[in-house]
């Protein structure tokens, strides 16, 4: 009895401790883009003051236990998953808060004590597939790479030097993202979609956008500035880009965007805020209704932005915006953006070109990562970096050739882009035949090549909205000037049509071969079993032949009848 009481007490105390240990914030940033689009970004972040290495995830409070179990089981240190429909148009939209490749993208750092990374990676992908209802189970060593430069840990690491053998990165460019992914994703939130900002995520509205991306980012972070202890941070994000042309108007409201207004805050949230970027009011004026609680000015990397801040109270609340001025805005393209495309025609040879635009007045160092599937065999000797019609030597080049059905081609190029230049990185490939069962079923678009990732630290924060590495909320990005701003530009996916054999041909061949065999069998059988004998050739004409034949027949008939007549007589 005494023991039981003590046990209960311990539980109470421990749960009380955990309760105090985690915080949840929900934020929404609405930003009218300089083009004819509106960007809405939801940021839900959960911070739990536990050490990832110690925690067993037997009991969680706000943090989703389903995810905790997965990372604990597969020895994950850091995990990033994004599911995206559409392509972020860097050239006209600027930079998003979270870069994401079209389709599914997942990358994870495993803890340095992981024994079999390959196996853990495969199991992790399968678990995530179940967790998010996405086809992440198709992630396996045949489409995963361990990039050396591009994906550094975003969180805290114990050692100074990280070993990229514990990193895995894969994309599924064919993945289609829809309601079935957002529903399980919402269940990871403490308030689900019942209250708070998450209640705005109505499938009928958020899937009618130009761009739609959901993300899940888990990493260990410092608990305090001195970084004596570690905490676990989970960021859940939704990025949406609405198009005024599709909406039919430039006036927006929460109801128009999401189907309903906010019906109060999530009670578990420590902070529940909506920010509207009003920097663009200078060129395209709009009036916000109701008036914001506060106007925040942020100076970051030379860029001044102003935000209208709304704190969500526990009652019904909506925000309207009415466009008043319709001035023509000058589009300033971001410092760095990139495209990717296939060259060549026909089904013999082709090329992949990644074009990188540097609009900055000084040179930029970028890392270009390409994860090229094994069915697109590239030739490294054809890799060329051409900048403004001059060939440039890459600063560093990492290449691991692919193996058919086992390993993709991994290319990572470090290039210094000259000021105000267009640089293209091209590599040639061959179209290959696959095994007949590897072709997709009949109605298919072709074979996908995932997007390239162009990473760079930008010196200026123009068009930049990303969170600083040490921040986890949108509020953290205000006045967060740093020495560089990391952007990881994702390019388009590509579709190629591999030479497809005529699948009805084997059937025809079988039919033909059988006929030939059947025809050959008869004469062969005759020749081997029958004896050829010389026969005296008859030189009679047809008429004579016919005559004798007829006579013989008649004779035969007569003789027959005679015989028949004779027989009974004999009896």
């Amino acid at each position: 009895m005494h023991n039981l009481v003590l046990f209960g007490l311990i539980i109470c105390v421990s749960s009380g401790l955990t309760y105090k240990q985690d915080t949840f914030t929900e934020e929404l940033l609405i930003k009218p883009l300089y083009s004819e689009q509106l960007y809405a970004h939801f940021q839900f972040s959960t911070k739990w003051d536990v050490d990832l290495d110690v925690e067993q995830f037997r009991h969680t409070h706000i943090f989703p236990r389903a995810l905790g179990e997965i990372i604990e089981r597969h020895n994950v240190q850091e995990l990033h998953v994004t599911l995206t429909e559409g392509l972020w148009r860097y050239e006209s939209w600027g930079y998003p808060i979270e870069d994401a490749a079209p389709g599914a993208e997942v990358w994870a750092w495993f803890k340095p004590d992981t024994i079999d990374v390959e196996k853990n990676w495969k199991l992790l992908a399968n678990s995530l597939s179940g967790l998010l209802c996405a086809s992440l189970n198709f992630v396996d060593p045949s489409n995963s790479v361990s990039p050396e430069f591009t994906f550094k840990p975003k969180g805290v690491t114990l050692t100074q030097n990280v070993n990229n053998t514990f990193l895995r990165y894969a994309t599924l460019p064919r993945e289609i993202v829809c309601t079935e992914n957002i529903t399980p994703w919402k269940k990871l939130l403490p308030c689900d979609s019942k209250s708070g900002l998450a209640s705005l995520l109505n499938s009928g509205f958020i899937h009618n956008t130009r761009y739609h991306s959901i993300g899940l980012h888990l990493r260990p972070v410092c608990r305090e500035d001195a970084c004596q202890h570690m905490s676990l941070e989970l960021q859940q994000t939704v990025s949406l880009v609405y198009d005024y042309a599709i909406m039919g108007t430039k006036n927006w409201s929460l109801k128009k965007l999401f189907g309903q207004a906010v019906n109060g805050r999530c009670d578990l949230a420590d902070k529940s805020e909506i920010y509207v970027d009003i920097t663009s009011k200078v060129s395209n004026d709009f009036n916000l209704e109701p008036k914001p609680d506060e106007v925040v000015t942020s100076i970051r990397g030379g860029q001044v932005s102003t935000f209208a801040k709304y704190t969500i109270k526990n009652y019904f609340m909506s925000i309207h915006s009415v466009s008043t001025g319709d001035k023509i805005s000058v589009k300033a393209p971001p410092l760095l953006h990139a495209n990717q495309y296939v060259t060549g025609y026909g089904q013999e040879r082709g090329g992949i070109v990644t074009k990188i635009y540097n609009n900055h007045w000084s040179s930029l160092d970028v890392v270009v990562l390409q994860n090229i599937p094994w069915y697109v065999p590239i030739y490294l000797h054809t890799l060329k970096v051409i900048s403004d019609n001059k060939e440039v030597q890459p600063l560093a080049l990492r290449y691991i050739p692919g193996k058919q059905r086992l390993k993709p081609y991994y290319v990572e190029v470090l290039v210094s882009l000259p000021p105000r230049s267009i640089t293209s990185i091209s590599v040639d490939f061959d179209y290959v035949f696959l095994k007949w069962q590897e072709y997709p079923p009949d109605a298919n678009h072709g074979f996908y090549i995932g997007s390239a990732v162009v990473s760079s630290y930008l010196p200026l924060a123009r068009n930049f909205t990303g969170l600083p590495q040490d921040g986890s909320t949108i509020a953290d990005s205000f006045n967060a000037s740093r020495s560089g701003y990391l952007v990881q530009v994702r390019t388009e996916n590509m579709v190629i049509t591999l030479p497809t054999p005529d699948f009805s041909m084997p059937y025809n061949v079988i039919c033909l071969a059988c006929t030939v065999v059947a025809l050959a069998f008869g004469p062969l059988h005759n020749i081997t079993t029958k004896r050829l004998r010389l026969k005296v050739k008859n030189n009679e004409t047809i008429l004579v032949k016919l005559k004798t034949k007829v006579i013989n027949k008649i004779k035969g008939v007569f003789s027959c009848t005679k015989d028949n007549d004779d027989k009974p007589k004999k009896e």
Binding site: R89, E91, G103, N339, Y341, G344, N444, E492, V495, P523
Partner: protein, 640 residues
């Protein structure tokens, strides 16, 4: 079973029959080939078109296009702009419109380094806007293109098609059901602009290196699935002609053609093919003749290998495309439709193409059309050309058998005949055969060098090149004098066999790619090729030469151009037509050379490297001289 026959055995019955009847058989095969082809136009000999690709779901959506008023406004504005820019494209206006609509707008610069004049450059500029499909990552695209024609252009205006294109773009950008990006392309300099744009898009060169500098594109939208080219000449359209013949006789997938026809029909606009509508007759012959005329119209367009619209250049990049040409004045009785209907036709076509899950591959790529709703598949038309080729090959076989034939009746002659077979000097025959082909190759590659020479000596390139080519052709006749075995009829027969076999196989090969060209060559060449034999009869031999001379590729070209000129300028005097025709022939030769350099048209290559050498071989055969003749000649010489 070949294995079971004894090679040393006497000639079988079949061989004997072949030797006996080969002339009749060849003639029969030729005639049946031609008749087969002609009969194909009769409705019960071909099939009506159908949709093979279920994913297209043509015409199932409710048309929502209502931007006809803005199309009219665009047309007014554009017409005003066109007055300002007499010779060039109103770029700023087009760019502004694209941007206002909300498209990603780009320009594309290209330069043509004149193939006829070194250091002469023609710049050009295309404009295009890309509608980015929502929630798609620019992996696939559709193209809607219009050739821009300034007021000074000799062709009919295309301003209404630009207006409807802009209106359609405006409508399409407001909808979120697009799964593929749509590229709206306005090209300059007719086919050159499209070719340059396509080469830049694919980073490839179709013609000779360094002729067309296609430049670079800033915006792309993935793999292009299909393209529609518009040439509307008036705002209100009474007749929509659908053009399909592309470069080197390539055709778009039949499903795309069916789709365009179906959409036009749905909107109540009568679509025509080769400017001919479907008409109904009671008499079977009239029915056949109507279809046959349409079929022949397509046949001759395809045979030239020259695209009859900007769509033709997409084909060689594996993109299915066609041109819709709208005329205000209908040749047929029909109601006119305005921008509302034409916009809905475009909407229907693009929404169907948007449904496509895979590249066009279901329906036919090789077909002939006797009308817009009936087609002749490759399986039906190939026997025609095969029959004609077979007649040539059978003749070659018969000749070969005859060479080996040993007269049975007298044992003494038998040995002589064997000797005759041994006399054949294969090395010499092959040398002549190769020589003919080398001449062909020289003529093929000569224009590049001729242009350089003309440049150095400051001669007009066009005239110099054509005249030199004429001279080369005339010189090539002299190959005959290099034939040292003219008197040996057996050797001449072997050369004849080579030529026949080459012609037969070439005809089949060429008709696999461009049926019309193959069939055209077969129909006119085969009877005379069958007629040519090594002979001792003088008159027969002269007859052969004259007939064969009429079939020289240049002669055929001149005849075709002359007929064309005559039909176009019927009112003029004969001598004027003749001089016009000669000029046009020269132009045609230069154009075919230039086309091969810029677009990769292989008509010139085919004629010079295959047809011309083959012609020379037959030409040599027709010069065979019997021994008696030679003796007589020798006697005459002696007496002299």
């Amino acid at each position: 079973m070949g294995l079971l026959t004894d090679p040393s055995a006497e000639q079988g019955k079949a061989t004997k029959a072949l030797l006996k009847y080969h002339t009749k058989l060849s003639l029969l095969l030729y005639l049946s080939g031609v008749v087969w082809f002609c009969v194909l136009a009769y409705p019960s000999m071909n099939a009506s078109t159908y949709f093979s690709e279920n994913a297209l779901l043509p015409g199932l959506v409710k048309s929502e296009f209502r931007e006809d008023k803005s199309a009219e406004r665009f047309l007014h504005e554009l017409e005003d702009e066109m007055k300002k820019y007499k010779d060039s494209v109103p770029y700023s206006w087009i760019l502004a419109k694209f941007q206002q609509i909300g498209l990603d707008t780009y320009t594309h610069n290209f330069t043509l380094n004149s193939p006829l004049k070194i250091n002469e450059k023609y710049p050009g500029k295309n404009v295009y806007g890309i509608l980015r499909a929502p929630r798609a990552s620019s992996t696939e695209a559709l193209v809607l293109s219009v050739p821009y024609r300034p007021a000074s252009s000799p062709h009919l205006t295309t301003a209404p098609s630009i207006a409807i294109m802009l209106a359609f773009a405006k409508y399409a950008n407001r909808n979120n059901y697009w799964a593929k990006d749509i590229i709206f392309l306005i090209t300059e300099h007719e086919q050159l602009g499209v070719q340059a744009w396509l080469e830049a898009y694919h980073g490839a060169t179709r013609g000779y290196e360094g002729i067309l500098d296609s430049g670079d594109l800033r915006g792309r939208a993935g793999a292009i699935q299909a393209a529609i080219n518009l040439e509307f000449h008036e705002a209100r359209i009474g007749q929509m002609d659908i053009k399909i013949e592309g470069l080197n006789g390539q055709l778009p997938n039949l499903d795309l053609f069916n789709l365009a026809v179906k959409m036009c029909t749905k909107e109540g606009l009568s679509s025509t093919f080769k400017g001919r509508a479907n008409e109904y007759y009671r008499e079977p012959f009239d029915v056949w003749f109507h279809y046959f005329k349409t079929l022949m119209a397509m046949f001759f367009t395809q045979a030239t290998g020259i695209p009859n619209g900007n769509h033709g250049l997409f084909h060689s990049f594996g993109i299915q495309s066609l041109t819709m040409e709208g005329f205000g004045q209908a040749k047929i009785r029909a109601t006119k439709v305005g921008f509302l209907s034409t916009g809905r036709i475009l909407e229907g076509i693009f929404r169907s193409l948007n449904n496509l899950l895979e590249r066009f591959h279901q329906s036919f790529f090789f077909y002939l059309l006797p009308s817009s709703d009936r087609y002749i598949s490759i399986g039906l038309y190939m026997p025609a050309v095969c029959l004609i080729a077979a007649s040539l090959i059978i003749k070659a076989c018969a000749k070969w058998c005859k060479l080996q034939e040993t007269p049975e009746n007298e044992s003494g002659k038998k040995s002589l005949a064997r000797k005759g077979m041994d006399n054949i000097n294969f090395e010499r025959i092959i040398t002549i055969f190769l020589l003919a082909h080398i001449i062909g190759m020289l003529i093929k590659y000569s224009p590049q060098y001729l242009i350089k020479i003309s440049e150095e000596h400051d001669l007009p390139a066009t005239k110099f090149v054509t005249n030199t080519l004429f001279a080369f052709c005339a010189l090539s006749f002299a190959v005959v004098y290099l034939v040292s075995f003219k008197t040996c009829s057996n050797s001449m027969t072997v050369l004849n066999i080579f030529a026949l076999l080459e012609l037969g196989t070439t005809l089949i090969c060429i008709s696999m790619n461009n049926f019309s060209l193959g069939m055209f060559c077969a129909t006119i060449w085969a009877p005379i090729a069958l007629f040519i034999n090594p002979t001792s009869c003088k008159y027969y031999s002269y007859m052969q030469r004259i007939l064969w001379l009429c079939l020289h590729p240049l002669a055929i070209l001149t005849t075709v151009v002359m007929i064309n000129t005559y039909t176009m300028f019927r009112g003029e005097k004969l001598d004027e037509i003749f001089s016009r025709g000669l000029g046009a022939t020269n132009q045609a030769i230069v154009f075919s050379i230039v086309d091969s350099m810029i677009y990769g048209n292989w008509l010139y290559t085919f004629v010079t490297s295959v047809l011309l050498p083959n012609w020379l071989c037959f030409w040599c055969v027709s010069f065979s001289v019997s021994k008696d003749n030679e003796k007589e000649e020798a006697k005459i010489k002696k007496t002299n």
